[in-house]
């Protein structure tokens, strides 16, 4: 037997709603003439059909998973790739900052000033530790 699809489940739920409405209309129109027992039985049936219809709509949503599993994986995979590209682009600024600090450090060595060498070396480490 073929499996129920999300679309078919939704149509089925709609049919349940129509059926429950028809039973309800019949009860209200014949309220005075229906026996109490029959009316109660019909009322119970009406409520049960409405509950089934609601359950089937939730089931239809769960069945959607069969249609989207592959797409979900693919989109999540692409999103991970995008995030990785973003990170690489952000890292470029970090590389620039480190390079800048190294240039200053090189200049300090040439100047032979111990104080400047120490400060600029700290800047190299700071730039390296900085989050991209």
């Amino acid at each position: 037997m073929a499996k129920l699809t999300a679309q078919q489940a939704n149509i089925l739920a709609n049919n349940f709603l129509g059926l429950a409405q028809a039973i309800g209309d019949y009860r209200y129109e014949n309220w005075a003439t229906l026996s109490k027992g029959d009316n109660q039985k019909l009322g119970t049936l009406q409520r049960a059909i409405l509950n089934y219809g609601e359950d089937v709509l939730a089931l239809s949503t769960v069945l959607v998973m069969n249609d989207v599993a592959d797409s979900l994986n693919r989109v999540n995979d692409i999103t991970a790739q995008i995030k990785s590209t973003i990170q690489k682009l952000k890292n470029i600024q970090k590389v620039i900052n480190v390079a800048t600090a190294i240039v200053s450090f090189g200049a300090a060595i040439i100047s032979k000033d111990p104080q400047t060498i120490s400060t600029t070396l700290d800047s190299v480490f700071d730039a390296w530790k900085q989050k991209a």
Partner: protein
Amino acid sequence: MKNRFNAPALFAISLLICSCANLRAVNSFSSGSLEGVQKFEQIHYSFTQHCQDRCVFEAISKFEIKRSLECDCDIYKKADSVTVLIYNSIKGYLDGLTNLSDNNLANYNLDTLKSSLTEGDFGNIKIGKEQVEAYGGIAQILLNAVSGAYRKKKIKFYIEQANKPIQILLDKFQFILQKNLNEELDFKKEKLFAFYRELLLNNDLTEYEKGKATAEYYEQVANIDRTQQEIDLFAGSLKDISEGHQKIYDNRNKLSARELKNLLVAYQSDISNMVSHFNKLKN
């Protein structure tokens, strides 16, 4: 010397302007879509909520007072899990696309490098301040242009890869909300209708109580209608996002930035209208 200097600069500037503008069109569309899709979090109705409301309503109908209601909502919780899974996937993708196409992401700052060069003393080699600024400026333009072109290429690749699965996710997300969740509320309305009709037909109420019950019924239906409008409005905008994405995909190779922007205007405007109507309904 002057001409040699200007040619690459002009090329770099034109490359930068061209890539930025294209990225801007994609950024504008994806950020608008992201804002629109996040309105989902403001829809305060879910399958689980529906199940719990049903449980309470049944207890009220039967005048049942219990210390705690036992509601079997497993299938409704699963339905919410599927819905949230799809939502997060769509949101994650749009968020990534928005960030990647944002010109601030790769607007690299070379100011400190330029100043460190000027301040540096390179033994016998001396670089004039003007030269440093000129070459530093070109380096910055080229770097931004190259990164812009790189991002454009990447975005084109991601849009190509994502187009089909994202269309499926958007379509199913719309189906879940517009067909399943919204129709749960049709059942809720039908149950209210049945409850109040029976209450009035039973003739146990005074005229005043009948009036109160009738008012109560219409008030509850109006609340449900408002929630249905919110869901419907939101779900409708998912189609705009889907069509807009398809438009970018279809024209990924042939259109200028301006043309692409013009093609997306209608979708962006529809999404923006949804956001504004949605906010009005909420207030």
